[in-house]
């Protein structure tokens, strides 16, 4: 159990955290503006993974176009869900409870729609990057490396959009107060359209990376529960929080699992409860104020 072992586990944790980050950013984006937990996000990721699978196997396209196709497919799906499911609720100013229920309904629908139309058989991506590289005693799969790089690049681009562009300004304004920004002439509908599109595209990427590394099946949407915990841990509604929370959770999870693998999930949910009790706004979340 030398330093190599420790570093290897650290790398494992960062890989896992990178994937959580891609997923939890989508949650956080939606939460920052609409103040509800979008549980349909897992379904969008799952569909992204399937799009990638069929693009690679049935259409025989190379990796990069397939990867982009995933983003487009999932982005479209997220927008469609927003239009059909959340938009009517939004128009009515329904309480966030209804959004969560609808999101749950959408996620049940997506999961079972895939089972009914495709089937429940787990599918395996054709090998794309199956080699591995060794640095010292640490092994790192090329797909894992790719996952970290893609996560980092995608998240950097996202941060750039949000911090430096006009659209980003509108998003930040809306997340501060949707009502006030709408009054200031920001098109709230458009902002929501954009965040769902961005969240969806990232979900598509996450889906494909997930599928390459693991497996594609209709129930992978449930894995996103943990990325949701990561988002809470980092602070719901905060993008940097979601990313930091995800990576930290990934690393902690790996170390707990290497200590006693049975405690892994118990630790994740225990951490969730602990964070909520001690500091509900998470590591970097905005302070929740009682809106009277």
């Amino acid at each position: 159990m030398g330093i190599e072992y420790f570093l290897q586990q650290l790398v494992n944790g960062i890989c896992l955290g990178g994937m959580y980050a891609l997923m939890s950013v989508g949650y956080s984006l939606v939460y920052s503006i609409m103040n509800f937990s979008n549980f349909a996000h897992g379904g969008v990721i799952m569909v992204g993974a399937y799009v990638g699978y069929f693009a690679l196997t049935a259409l025989n396209v190379p990796f990069l176009p397939a990867f982009l196709l995933c983003g487009v497919g999932s982005g479209l799906l997220a927008v469609i869900i927003e239009r059909l499911v959340y938009s009517p609720l939004r128009k009515r100013h329904a309480p966030s409870l209804y959004f969560i229920i609808s999101a749950m309904g959408a996620s049940i629908f997506l999961e079972n729609f895939v089972i009914a139309t495709i089937d429940g058989t787990p599918r395996n991506y054709p090998p794309i990057f199956d080699n591995r590289i060794n640095i010292g005693g640490i092994s790192l799969g090329v797909d894992s490396l790719l996952m970290i790089v893609v996560s980092a690049v995608a998240l950097l681009i996202l941060m750039f959009i949000i911090q430096k562009t006009k659209v980003g300004l509108a998003i930040r304004a809306c997340s501060y107060s949707e009502k006030a920004s709408t009054l200031m002439g920001i098109n709230g509908d458009l902002v929501i359209f954009i965040i769902f599109l961005m969240g969806g595209v990232l979900a598509g990427f996450a889906g494909m990376l997930y599928g390459m590394r693991f497996i594609v099946k209709p129930t992978i949407g449930q894995v996103t529960n943990k990325s949701f915990v990561a988002a809470v841990f980092g602070g719901l509604g905060s993008l940097p929080g979601a990313i930091v929370g995800s990576v930290l959770l990934g690393i902690m999870e790996i170390f707990v699992a290497s200590f006693n693998s049975n405690l892994r999930d118990l630790f994740v949910y225990g951490l969730l409860i602990l964070v909520l009790v001690i500091k509900p706004s998470g590591l970097m979340g905005k302070v929740v104020e009682d809106k009277a």
Binding site: Y5, G120, P122, F214
Partner: protein, 393 residues
């Protein structure tokens, strides 16, 4: 105006629901009245959920066989009607389904479900209705016996977890000559637990050592933490009593971590899907009820693939096939579709199935003289290589 529209929609929805209620009743009524000239066979299993692939294969195999049987004149001169229900892989749903099959559809026997937990759960329903269940791949000991007491209406066509654990243990120690093994298993799964316990027992009693024992929970997809630990322990083989999707993922991750030792999976691992990850799983072993490359099954596999758009035959299909043959033989032996007579006949018939000669013991309702087949996965040619047969008893 809008309000009345909404009300109208709500009303329509409510009416639709009521309508489905009556339609449901009506349809079942028809089925009941024509019950005299068909023999009803029930099947239950997972058509949705994590194990959907197994269940789908079982039900499709049975549908295919029932169609063939009916085309050839049916059974006892009657047509066979197959009623399939989904259990969602949930024990609670299984109880509901069993009640529906027994009380509502009044089947003469049930085949399935494909998981031990569900088989154990439905026992009280079977006892109440005196309708027998022939389970396909439920390998848990408690399925047919509990605390030394025989469950009168539970049967199975597969071997048991202890037997499978024993096969695994002796294969690793005797055939491969390894004495250091690691285990990676799903702590949530009674199947994995049963296999693991019995493997450890047999392997250690022979003189082997378990160098690492790691668990995970169902739904986990990242095994790198456990695998890194296993790598440190330097086993000669990793025993993985789990289902094939996890088997594939563990292989992929182990290979990227630089673990090159083979793995040994139980009967839940054997699947055609393995070959999609051919490079990773190359060289590992699976225990099986039947040899998946046995030429005797060629015609069967071909018919299945033709009927279902090239679908791959899973192990469950073979077991469903054998269970169905047993049921046919039992009905013929009983000479009627009386559930009790069929239950009694199960232990008196003998059929030649995909897994060899099958005879159900009257003492414990398990098949006698089963042997397990160990096969090596040949990733390059995408096929299995038959290794050896090991007697289960």
């Amino acid at each position: 105006m809008r309000k009345s529209m909404k009300k109208l929609i709500a009303l329509t929805l409510a009416c639709l629901m009521l309508a489905t209620l009556f339609v449901g009743c009506g349809k079942k009524d028809d089925g009941g009245s024509s019950g005299g000239d068909t023999i009803k066979l029930g099947w239950m299993g997972s058509l949705t959920g994590d194990q959907a692939a197994y269940g789908t294969c079982e039900s499709q195999t049975l549908k295919m066989m029932v169609e063939d049987l009916n085309a050839n004149g049916g059974l006892l001169g009657k047509q066979v009607e197959l009623i399939c229900y989904d259990t969602k892989g949930d024990a609670q749903e299984a109880v509901n389904v069993a009640k529906r099959l027994c009380a509502q559809d009044q089947v003469c026997a049930i085949i399935g479900p494909n998981a031990s937990g569900q088989c154990i759960a439905i026992q009280s329903v079977l006892d109440q209705y005196k309708i027998s269940d022939m389970s396909t791949v439920a390998t848990n000991e408690k399925v047919t016996m509990q605390d030394g007491q025989l469950k009168e209406y539970n049967f199975r066509v597969c071997f048991l977890d202890p037997q499978q654990g024993k096969i695994a243990g002796s294969f690793v120690y005797d055939n491969l000559g390894f004495d250091k093994a690691a285990i990676l298993y799903d702590v949530n799964d009674d199947y994995a637990l049963g296999l693991k316990d019995n493997f450890v027992k047999v392997f250690e009693s022979k003189g082997g050592t378990i160098v690492a024992e790691e668990g995970y929970t169902a739904g986990d997809t990242d095994f790198t933490a456990q695998l890194t630990k296993i790598k440190e322990a330097q086993p000669q083989i990793i025993f993985t009593p789990i289902f094939y999707q996890d088997f594939i993922m563990i292989h992929k991750q182990a290979r990227t971590l630089g673990i090159e030792v083979p793995m040994l999976g139980g009967d839940g691992c054997a699947s055609e899907v393995l070959f999609d990850a051919a490079d990773a799983v190359d060289g590992s072993y699976v225990i099986n009820h039947v040899s998946l490359v046995d030429p005797a099954g060629d015609a069967f596999r071909k018919e299945y693939a033709e009927k279902y758009n090239g679908a791959k035959m899973e192990l469950n299909g073979y077991m469903a096939h054998d269970a169905f043959l047993l049921w046919c033989a039992a009905v013929e032996k009983a000479g009627s579709d009386d559930p009790q007579a069929i239950a009694d006949a199960y232990s008196q018939v003998e059929v030649e199935g995909m897994a060899g000669k099958i005879k159900i013991s009257a003492e414990d309702h398990n098949p006698v003289g089963k042997s397990g087949c160990v096969e090596r996965i040949d990733g390059k040619n995408k096929t299995y290589v038959f290794e050896t047969y090991i007697a289960a008893d």
